[in-house]
Symmetry: D3
Subunit: 251 residues, 6 copies
Amino acid sequence: MSHTTPSLLVVSAHAGDFVWRAGGAIAAAAMRGEQVTVVCLSYGERGESASQWLQGKSLEEIKALRRSEAEAAAAELGAEIEFLDLGDYPLVESQGAIAQLVDVFRRTQPTVVLTHALADPYNEDHPAAARMALRARVLAQAIGVQNSDGSFPARDEIIGAPPVFFFEPHQSEQCDFKPNLLLDITEAFERKRRAMECMPAQKHMWSYYTDLAVRRGVQVRRNAGPNLGLPHETKGEAYVRFLPQVTGELS
Amino acid sequence: MSHTTPSLLVVSAHAGDFVWRAGGAIAAAAMRGEQVTVVCLSYGERGESASQWLQGKSLEEIKALRRSEAEAAAAELGAEIEFLDLGDYPLVESQGAIAQLVDVFRRTQPTVVLTHALADPYNEDHPAAARMALRARVLAQAIGVQNSDGSFPARDEIIGAPPVFFFEPHQSEQCDFKPNLLLDITEAFERKRRAMECMPAQKHMWSYYTDLAVRRGVQVRRNAGPNLGLPHETKGEAYVRFLPQVTGELS
Amino acid sequence: MSHTTPSLLVVSAHAGDFVWRAGGAIAAAAMRGEQVTVVCLSYGERGESASQWLQGKSLEEIKALRRSEAEAAAAELGAEIEFLDLGDYPLVESQGAIAQLVDVFRRTQPTVVLTHALADPYNEDHPAAARMALRARVLAQAIGVQNSDGSFPARDEIIGAPPVFFFEPHQSEQCDFKPNLLLDITEAFERKRRAMECMPAQKHMWSYYTDLAVRRGVQVRRNAGPNLGLPHETKGEAYVRFLPQVTGELS
Amino acid sequence: MSHTTPSLLVVSAHAGDFVWRAGGAIAAAAMRGEQVTVVCLSYGERGESASQWLQGKSLEEIKALRRSEAEAAAAELGAEIEFLDLGDYPLVESQGAIAQLVDVFRRTQPTVVLTHALADPYNEDHPAAARMALRARVLAQAIGVQNSDGSFPARDEIIGAPPVFFFEPHQSEQCDFKPNLLLDITEAFERKRRAMECMPAQKHMWSYYTDLAVRRGVQVRRNAGPNLGLPHETKGEAYVRFLPQVTGELS
Amino acid sequence: MSHTTPSLLVVSAHAGDFVWRAGGAIAAAAMRGEQVTVVCLSYGERGESASQWLQGKSLEEIKALRRSEAEAAAAELGAEIEFLDLGDYPLVESQGAIAQLVDVFRRTQPTVVLTHALADPYNEDHPAAARMALRARVLAQAIGVQNSDGSFPARDEIIGAPPVFFFEPHQSEQCDFKPNLLLDITEAFERKRRAMECMPAQKHMWSYYTDLAVRRGVQVRRNAGPNLGLPHETKGEAYVRFLPQVTGELS
Amino acid sequence: MSHTTPSLLVVSAHAGDFVWRAGGAIAAAAMRGEQVTVVCLSYGERGESASQWLQGKSLEEIKALRRSEAEAAAAELGAEIEFLDLGDYPLVESQGAIAQLVDVFRRTQPTVVLTHALADPYNEDHPAAARMALRARVLAQAIGVQNSDGSFPARDEIIGAPPVFFFEPHQSEQCDFKPNLLLDITEAFERKRRAMECMPAQKHMWSYYTDLAVRRGVQVRRNAGPNLGLPHETKGEAYVRFLPQVTGELS
């Protein structure tokens, strides 16, 4: 219903999350020529880099490595990427971090927002990222809210009310993640696979998330109906739409 | 994602429900040239016709009156209408009624299904209708399931997996009705209003459901964002999508 | 807000349920001079009479015994009692039973209705009774609904919309029973105790439900606040109000 | 059950919330001669004053304007009003703010508390206000908790356990707001309307909340039953009672 | 805590369900020397045999084929199997079917019960089977409940209160299936695989359920902790325990 | 499935909580020879010591008294005890407190963790303690996370994924506490009773929690089945297992 330029904004707690969980949606948007921006709140340097720590790497080395891998993956997917370096394990919610995200929302003018789900008993950083993304989205809509450096008026336009989708956590059922949208990523999957392969330390994840894409693809076909001729190799990603869909036509 | 002919099927417990609750969606589909079929499981002769009973009308008179009003309303909306005359208050779930609905699903080959929500403490007929519609939809997908007269094979093709939307109950919050889809019915609203006016005994409902359309229209605008230029007179209807949306693009 | 004569209707699956679970509310109403009617859908002859079966009693003997105990308990509480003898374990939902309850609702014109909660994994008879009570209550409001013998018009007036309260199941938490009303039964408790003592075969229940009254009494005091001077021996019963409270004053 | 002086305390995130959402309850209490205190945690200067910002007003001008409008509305309703000026968008939860509220609770000795609901995806300030109100209410009950300036013992008496009611958010269903209390505000509505008219910049809200009062009034009538003779112009407000109701009589 | 002989009872809606969803638990129990009984309520002849219908087979041919496949699979798993032939699509709940299950419960004296989950929007037969299993389990505990042929007293002993576990549906999240138990089936998996291979018409399911076993195995390892030395090839099945676990030791 | 030394860690918001709510589990573990460590985050000096404040005691006196009572109770139960002295009413969540708990987790290497439930409208300190315990447990698993004094690498080994159990709040149903585990504490109860008697100021709690143990004992027997020969004096404690149980055998 909008005539604004498509712009996808992905808010990721750690440097790898956006690849495994939303790589298909990102690649598909980029393949349609849309602008895609990934914001990594941290590098996942403490909580998701066990093998590097075991090798005796330093904190700075690990951050640099994670950054370069994420940059390579974003490039494969066709996305811009930026890093707020807020630290992880824990990723601490703060007004300062939310204010930085307000700037990002206004600068990128997203028409679609992707982030983590609001519950994850295995990793509190994920819901913390989601809460900050949701709060920043609302603040960025208000003309009275300042820039993150306290200056006023806002450097960029306020934003509209872009839809928000939560991407899939590692153990969906324990995160009360009940998908209400199944995305067909068949054509984008090859790019997602290449992006995953930019993370050589997590090789076991490549097949895990390939299998998941197959399973979600089965559900794409099952929910679309048997007579629609979707191919057997359909790949999918699951999402939860957070706010009501607005549409002019039921389908 | 489908290339089938659009066909909207509306399963309504009583003769009036489809008008108040889904009249906008029906009119909009008809205005796009789609086939629309309304199935009324009962006339609402016992539970929703208090004023006729008070006037001393007989059961048959009341059923005939409700039927003709519903036919007039359907005509205004641009829909075909049929009646299963299963009785109301209570509308009793039965295998026979479900089997009749299986026939209807296969005959109309719906690409979209509308029905009541699954909870309504004020009127158990509504969830009974919804449960029968949902069961018939699944049975109609199976090649091994007979026609309602026991003959086999099925007279019509099996169906795919059309999306199901629940329309809004009278007291939404008491029915655990949390809309996840807001439909813009601005252009279709005039037809809906004329269809409502085919129900002269329920004149107080005309303004009630006009006000509701305004309120849901405010939410259409609010969830679409301030900068999208939707007009102030936007009208809306609220729905709950029952199964996951299948799509190739997030929006 | 009503000027109708107070009338309490209690719908109980088995012959003993109303005593353990709602005896305090019943006695309190009777002590205020209100009319109270208890309807037992079954005697609990198969599911709640293990000791009688072990003694080799016949079905008819057990039903007679359960009936006389329930009559004695009702007398202690100050209530009228009637029995529909629908059988238990299972208590089967049927249109006929609901229709009999419609007659009862119209005859007794309840201003308050008590029944079981809607979930009980340990005894499906309880939610079956609740569902039948709720459906009968709605049907009894409609002028178009017949008497249970098929005659028409209804022998008694249709009813209003009396509030419904679920009394407490045996294992509350497993029944998703989250009390939203705590009833002070301190003054009525002695009558409840005497009514419980009309059930000699279930002597272990006397102390169980006395302890529960103490515990719910602690919660009455705790939720009313420390400064209200409720005595330490406060006794309570817990309820779930099913539909919204209607009131002219918050308190 | 209490003999304390009635005192209503309303904790409002922004300067206007108490008018739209609880104006009827406030006016009704005042009309009964009860003490009413409204505490506005912020002026809503950043998040709810878009038109003033567009007119180029300064932060201080906007705060002053919002304050004077709120004071006028409170006067129409018959309530005292105070402002904590904690800032909005975001309204940040803090121990200092909670401590200030503890002082207010002890000073006003509320017998009823009104505040926002605990979820609102469209405005996180609202649940933040509610959480602070709930925490302050519990702390104010404990004799060991200091005054907000650190002095001890407490300047005022500790409080009891006043009931808490959440008033209705703008989009109820998206806030998991399922009303369990419908308040008849028919007689108080004229005052509420006059209070709303003290907010000239939000003229579109006047009719929105008048319509809502009508709709909630329909539900007041519907849940009270057809035979109670409530007038057709009944107006209502919807609330969620947070903790169990304590009562000596079911009704 | 019990000294009864281990006996596993599996209630399966259709002839294949027990293999895909609980094959690991069944094989593991059999490998420990326990008695295992599978009861198939129907053959899945209408709803899960599309390919046979497309080949023009008759109803009786399809039932015979499904039966022989299920018998072969049960033999691979080490289980007894019986068939109630109640029909499917729909599997209709009835008192007669429940009574037959009561007989089975008393005859097999289960110490553990497995059945479907209580919700499945894609196949109502599954929750219907679960509801009947749960009701039969409770009725079988009561000494007053007859045999299915109406004779009395019961032919076999009444049963205790065996724990019930729901096995995993095809689309877990849409069935509100939140596993609270992860079963390590590593050693039993080879038998499960052989049992799956007894269903040649559903070859695509072999890899689907092998992948699922790997994914649940990852969760077994993740929830047991990194330092427990579980092998990388761990296989798992997910379950929901329905009633509280009773234990003498937390672990 | 683990071969690690049993170690029970109990995270308690105030000095008394672990006695009333988990004393049976603690004593049972100690009686089996396991190591048990109780960490009290505060002494409960402001929120749970009304009688001492009324006697005019000072803050330091109250803290000392609460500490010595808790030490005596822990000794009766057979547990080590330590105090973080973080203050109560409110117990404020902080990164520093979480970091201290990370140290405790790594030092004690728990195989089982007990803490409060995640909701308690009557006392926000309880869920605050639970959230901090859960976060510390996850951080303590990561090799990249520092000691609380900022030093690195960690002084002790990282931990595995010990199961977490929530013990029972004072008003279970209002805390959404639905027990999924009933612990038989019959043999340990005498020690729990002696530990309760170390709290002379809360004498009314002795009988309250003895009654609760009886009631939970009834449920232990009821959920284990009538034929298992559990004695009538069975005592119990109720728990909620937070994450999926991992097991090699259903029971």
